[in-house]
């Protein structure tokens, strides 16, 4: 188990002190995929760098299975680092080494004999699906392939923890999904604890069981991904969730302002469905029960999370306020999450 207890990190800069991480308390269970989401500068990277001893906390305690890693030094710290694998946004592969030799680097550092290094590296190449590319150099690989090498390298010393620091942020959506699937696979096969740092709610929804939302150094919300998506408590979390629910992320995606401009009348309501409700004819019920209301569908999306499907539907209701309120009441009764986005 990983436990961050009252962890803070201050830097002194020319403009005075800067608190990068502010009193963070998180517990991460063994074998879990735990997400940390936040905008850049929220302190996510600093937090996980402390886990690896790349930075020391100003105050607080970071324990891995009861050992306070911030107290380790020298060879003990280096031994501990070998038990934590790390993958990065820009892959951080050595361009001077082939795929095979890149994967063998952590094994060299761990003083594994040469024959065994090669054997282990070949196993890993198979695991991440890069057979036939052993002797390629990173410059000959695509972004997704590079990240596979990064993952294989991170797994070389059979770590118990894998830190993914924005590892999919430089990849296109398809490749992102491939890499996330690979992370899911190794999590299941190797019972690896994975810490996924990202600013993309999509990645969190796809692989994580629990998530912590960070904003200016603080953890503002923690919970199961499913709960956080259904009932986001904080403004910033709502923003992240609604970014994810903005359908298809394509050119015809409209911002809230554009939506309001386009649908100036009545109210714009966002419905959040999960699991069984997604299968009920709720919208047609509303139309039948409130015949004086005009209901138009603006946009919708469905997302698969680790705990089941989550759907969102943006509707425009035009009609009497009392009618609209009754409709909202009815939706609440049907246990559909509602959120009024715009009221004219």
């Amino acid at each position: 188990m990983i436990r961050f207890k009252d962890v803070s990190k201050q830097y002194s800069t020319k403009d005075g002190g800067l608190t990068a991480v502010n009193d963070v308390n998180i517990e991460i269970n063994d074998g879990e995929i735990f997400g940390i989401v936040g905008y850049s500068g929220a302190g996510k990277s600093t937090l996980v760098r402390m886990l690896d001893g790349l930075e020391a906390p100003s105050t607080g305690e970071i324990a891995i299975n009861g050992t306070d890693v911030s107290k380790l030094h020298g060879s003990q710290l280096r031994k501990q680092r070998q038990k934590i694998g790390m993958i990065f946004q820009h892959f951080n592969l050595l361009w001077s080494r082939t795929v095979l030799d890149n994967i063998a680097l952590p094994l060299e550092i761990a003083k594994v004999p040469k024959a065994k290094r090669k054997q282990r590296a070949e196993e890993l190449i198979k695991l991440v699906g890069l057979e036939g590319r052993e002797h390629s150099y990173p410059s000959e690989l695509s972004g997704g392939q590079k990240q596979r090498v990064g993952i294989a390298r991170a797994l070389a010393n059979e770590p118990t923890i894998l830190i993914s620091d924005e590892a999919t942020s430089a990849l296109d959506p398809d490749t992102t999904n491939e890499v996330l699937d690979l992370l899911l696979k190794i999590n299941k096969e190797m019972n690896l604890t994975i810490l996924l740092i990202t600013h993309e709610m999509h990645a969190i929804a796809k692989v994580c069981e629990r998530v912590a939302v960070m904003d200016s150094g603080k953890v503002v919300e923690t919970g199961s991904v499913f709960e956080v998506f259904r009932h986001p408590q904080q403004e910033i979390t709502r923003k992240f969730v609604s970014e994810e629910f903005t359908p298809q992320q394509s050119d015809n995606t409209m911002t809230l302002d554009e939506l309001i401009k386009k649908y100036p009348d009545g109210q714009i309501i966002r419905l959040i469905f999960h699991g069984p409700q997604a299968e009920l004819p709720i919208v047609s019920d509303v139309v039948k029960r409130f015949p004086d209301l005009t209901v138009s569908i603006i946009s919708g999306a469905i997302h698969q999370t680790q705990e089941g499907a989550l759907g969102s539907l943006d509707l425009q209701f035009v009609g009497d306020d009392s009618q609209i309120n009754d409709a909202l009441e009815y939706l609440k009764k049907m246990r559909v999450g509602t959120e009024v986005i715009h009221h004219d």
Binding site: R81, N92, L105, E108, S139, E140
Partner: protein, 231 residues
């Protein structure tokens, strides 16, 4: 021996003593290569010290950085011809003589190693910090980071820098030759200028140019072989 004057004086090949030309060429080549070996080793060590002690907390690092930086800056700024004269007593002690190619080595090395050290430092600083951090996160020691990441990842730059240094070193050997260190510079000065034999001077120049071209060509090939960033 007939000595023409004017333009023709450059092309009287019968005036060239090919035996002494050959031995002078050989002297220049080995003076250059031998001092280059020492310059590369010393330059990398000094460059590494400059790089590793840069912006590190702790008074010890700061003093070391300042001392090496001072040494490098001083010897980089002394004009070579003055450095030779300045180092004469030291040369006498080290080489046992102040004449000949052996005597040229100490001043060649001391003047070019700091030049190369500064280049090495800047090449190390260009190594991707993310890769260094990745190695650190794998539990690498400082020495492992140097030998497994820093040196291999800057290899093409180190070779390109050594090529540039070798070429300016060839210029230095000629200058050292003029005050008695032997080699082509010495031959051009003594048998060419002082004996009014322009052909010798021209042939010596052509050989030096060829040597420079070969060094550049070989250096470029090695840079290309070691650089795997663009394929």
């Amino acid at each position: 021996m007939t000595n023409s004057t004017g333009f023709k004086s450059y092309f009287q090949l019968h005036n060239v003593d090919w035996g002494s030309m050959m031995s002078a060429t050989w002297e220049t080549v080995w003076m250059t290569l031998l001092s280059m070996v020492a310059i590369v080793i010393l330059g990398i060590i000094l460059g590494l010290i400059l790089y590793e002690t840069r912006n590190k907390p702790g008074i010890g690092y700061r003093i070391l950085n300042w001392l090496v930086g001072l040494f490098v800056n001083i010897f980089r700024s002394i004009p070579f011809i003055i450095l030779i004269i300045l180092l004469l007593p030291i040369t006498m002690k080290l080489a046992g003589t102040i004449i000949g190619p052996r005597a040229a080595l100490p001043s060649l090395i001391i003047s070019a190693a700091p030049f190369y050290a500064r280049m090495v430092e800047s090449y190390f600083r260009e190594v991707d910090s993310g890769v260094l951090e990745a190695a650190e996160s794998m539990g690498a020691t400082t020495w492992e980071i140097i030998t497994k990441v820093l040196l291999p990842e800057s290899k093409p730059a180190l070779i390109a820098g050594a090529t540039v240094t070798t070429i300016s070193l060839i210029g230095y050997t000629a200058m050292a030759g003029a005050i008695g260190a032997g080699g082509l510079g010495n031959l051009a000065y003594q048998d060419g200028f002082q004996a009014s034999n322009n052909t010798v001077t021209l042939v010596a120049t052509v050989i030096i140019c060829l040597f420079v071209f070969i060094v550049q060509f070989v250096g470029d090939i090695f840079v290309k072989i070691t650089d795997k960033r663009t394929l």
